[in-house]
Amino acid sequence: MRKPAKKISRKYKLKALLTNYLFILPALTLFVVLSIYPFLSMVRLSFFSWSGIGIAKKFVGLWNYKDIIFSNPIWWKSLGQAGYITLLALTVQNGLALILALACDRDIKGGKFYRVVFYLPPVLSGIVVGLIWTWIFDKHGLLNHFMSLVGFSEIIRPWLARPESALTAVAIVHMWKGFGWGFVIMLAGLQSIPRPLYEAARVDGANLWHTFRKITFPLMIPVFVVVLILTILGTMQIYDIIVATTGGGPGYHTEVPITRIISNILNNQRFGYACSQGIFFGLILLFFSLIQIKISRKFKPHF
């Protein structure tokens, strides 16, 4: 009597399992068709010399990767420049986002208004933001007008067109556009911290700094990790703002990896090479993300 029951149970389990898989099949199909297949195609194409049009492809093995690593100084320069913007975004942009989130977390007057205002730049188009800032940074732009009003006429310049200021100016535009994301995520994180913890700390005589160091900061670490990873991934892949402000110039001073990849596809007809650059760049981003997750695990609070 027991054996048939077991058989039924196994059959039922198998059926349930298949039904479950059947339910996820549409989503899985979409994921495979739209993400996995293009990714694998890209990996395959990275080993070819291909113009991007037509069927003629030449297998070149690891030659594209070798050229990127050893013979393409502009690529490394573009990576360094994206790294510089990322560094500024990680520190200045996220620092500002945290300060504003802390301010809005307290019941300040007009808090809701500020939340909306701070969240506005990220929802604007990067191209539009870039064009607006191009006018601000122009020789006859708002910034230089302000500078001359406050007596700094000697430093007036077209900020985006000078090698010494172009990259930082682009970084400022990017940070202005991006700090709202960090702000919203950090504000949500701050609001999820149980209030009794702060009240208990206050009863114990902790000041603002102690409260931040001993309660807010440790509890916010998972949120910081999310924000930092998003910042790195988002900033390293900066593109639209560069296109709208400098086009990668003057010279190569604001070139970033994505502009180089696009340039290889559109201007140089080196689709295979661009795929290799994409894979290589993806691996770099993955590497930094893994390091960051590892570090964050180390500092994660244990209650």
Partner: protein, 433 residues
């Protein structure tokens, strides 16, 4: 029952992801990027339908970069429309032809003693033509239909010239006249010159105009072939012209990252006295400032030994998709579209230079000034040899660096030559593999 319904839903979902075999509609589909011509194209399409009963559908994909990506993606998936345009260099055009996406129109062009062919400016047709023994190894013939012609020259604001004490009817012809004009404009506190040098092909265009004038076309081609180095004194002289322009205070501060739209705005709003722009600017300036009083002149001569060359040719062209089921209808439509009445209408409405020579009589005088120099136009697409893309990029970006004082002309020449040698070696390695 529930299971059957579930399976049906799943089947529909999965089936919906697949590509439904396209039904052949009695409609010619045209893809293009020309925002200023969409409305007029649609009007002409309606007119054609009334005459022939054949429907046309013009699909606009802009900006041009997005359009370029669109047609490349469509080529990869074999979903190109009946008629489309190819943007970019001859290499890209050749790739589409090689991939079998472009119909050879030679026989149609030559039929009836070249009736269709003879409508066009020869230079406009040349851009769409592959010569016998071309470097792309494509069967010689005509593969595209020019819609309009264009060339890139200098434009100047007559009012600002007058304000600076210059004769508004006498634009500079030689290099030194040009520099003197620059000095006078600077003295009058007028910004001298704007152009879309952030879009680096505009730097390239002016650089090669001057290079061809100074050393002749053959020496420029010899450089591309690797027979003359970029460190040649004449190339250094060409690069030095940009430094001289900057030193004379001629260039608008920030020109190196300027997109052409910004340059057009600055010139149209009379913030700069001169601009380097294509004949399409007539339409743009008219929209921005209908009262703008300006004239046209070719880039100033550096040398009297060789003639000046300016970039130009077919502004935009249409190709017929060889894989389309309606190639015959598409060809007939293009014949109609490029006939004199339609070309005149298109030109009047959009202020572009018509590709049909017979339509020139009706164009405005400023466009005629551009048209007067059609016999000196040249274009990389008709050259027998081309330069490596990376070498061109190094040159154009390097000229930006000269303008901002980061590099000297000599340093740039050395750098370009190094890149040239590296690219040549890469090419040889690739061939050896």
């Amino acid at each position: 029952m529930k299971k059957i319904i579930l399976l049906l839903i799943l089947g529909l979902l999965i089936g919906g992801c697949g590509r439904k075999k396209a039904e052949i509609k009695e409609e010619i589909v045209v893809w293009h990027w020309m925002t200023d011509r969409q409305e007029t194209f649609a009007e002409l399409g309606n007119k054609y339908e009334k005459i022939t009963g054949v429907k046309t559908k013009f699909c606009l994909y802009a900006p041009s970069d997005a359009y370029s990506q669109k047609i490349k993606a469509a080529a990869q998936t074999d979903t190109l429309p009946d008629i489309y345009g190819i943007l970019g260099e001859k290499e890209v055009f050749a790739l589409f032809v090689k991939a079998g996406y472009v119909l050879d129109l030679t026989d149609e062009m030559n039929a009836n003693v070249g009736q269709w062919r003879n409508r066009f400016f020869p230079r406009a047709l040349a851009v769409n033509e592959f010569e016998p023994g071309n470097r792309f190894e494509i069967k010689s013939g005509i593969y595209g239909v020019p819609l309009d012609v264009t060339n890139i020259q200098m434009v100047y604001n007559k009012k600002l010239f007058q304000k600076a004490g210059l004769n508004p009817e006498q634009p500079p012809r030689s290099w030194w006249e040009f520099i003197n004009v620059a000095k006078k404009l600077k003295k009058a506190g007028i910004d001298g010159f704007v152009s879309g040098w952030g879009e680096i092909w505009m730097i390239e265009s002016l650089t090669l105009d001057w290079a061809m004038n100074l050393m002749g076309e053959e020496k420029v081609f010899a450089t591309f072939r690797g027979d003359v180095p970029y460190t040649d004194p004449e190339w250094i002289k060409v690069f030095s012209l940009f430094k001289t322009m900057e030193d004379a205070g001629l260039l608008y501060d920030g020109i190196v990252i300027m997109v052409n739209k910004t340059a057009e705005r600055l010139f149209a709003t009379e913030k700069a006295a001169m601009a380097f722009n294509g004949s399409w600017c007539v339409n743009v300036y008219k929209e921005m400032n209908p009262e703008l009083d300006y004239g046209v002149f070719p880039p100033p001569f550096i040398s009297d030994e060789n003639s000046m060359r300016i970039w130009g040719g077919a502004g935009s062209s249409f190709m017929v998709n060889k894989k389309s089921a309606k190639t015959k209808q598409a060809v007939e439509f293009l014949k109609w579209l490029t006939a004199a009445p339609q070309q005149t209408y298109l030109s009047e409405k959009t202020l572009n230079l018509p590709a049909n020579q017979k339509s020139l009589e009706a164009i405005p005088s400023i466009l005629a000034e551009f048209a007067n120099d059609m016999d000196i136009v040249t274009h990389p697409n008709i050259w027998p040899v081309t330069e490596f893309p990376l070498v061109r990029e190094t040159m154009n970006k390097g000229i930006q660096s000269i303008v901002i004082g980061e590099k000297t002309p000599r340093q740039l020449a050395k750098e370009i030559q190094e890149v040239k040698i590296r690219e040549e070696k890469k090419r040889q390695d690739a061939e050896a593999r």
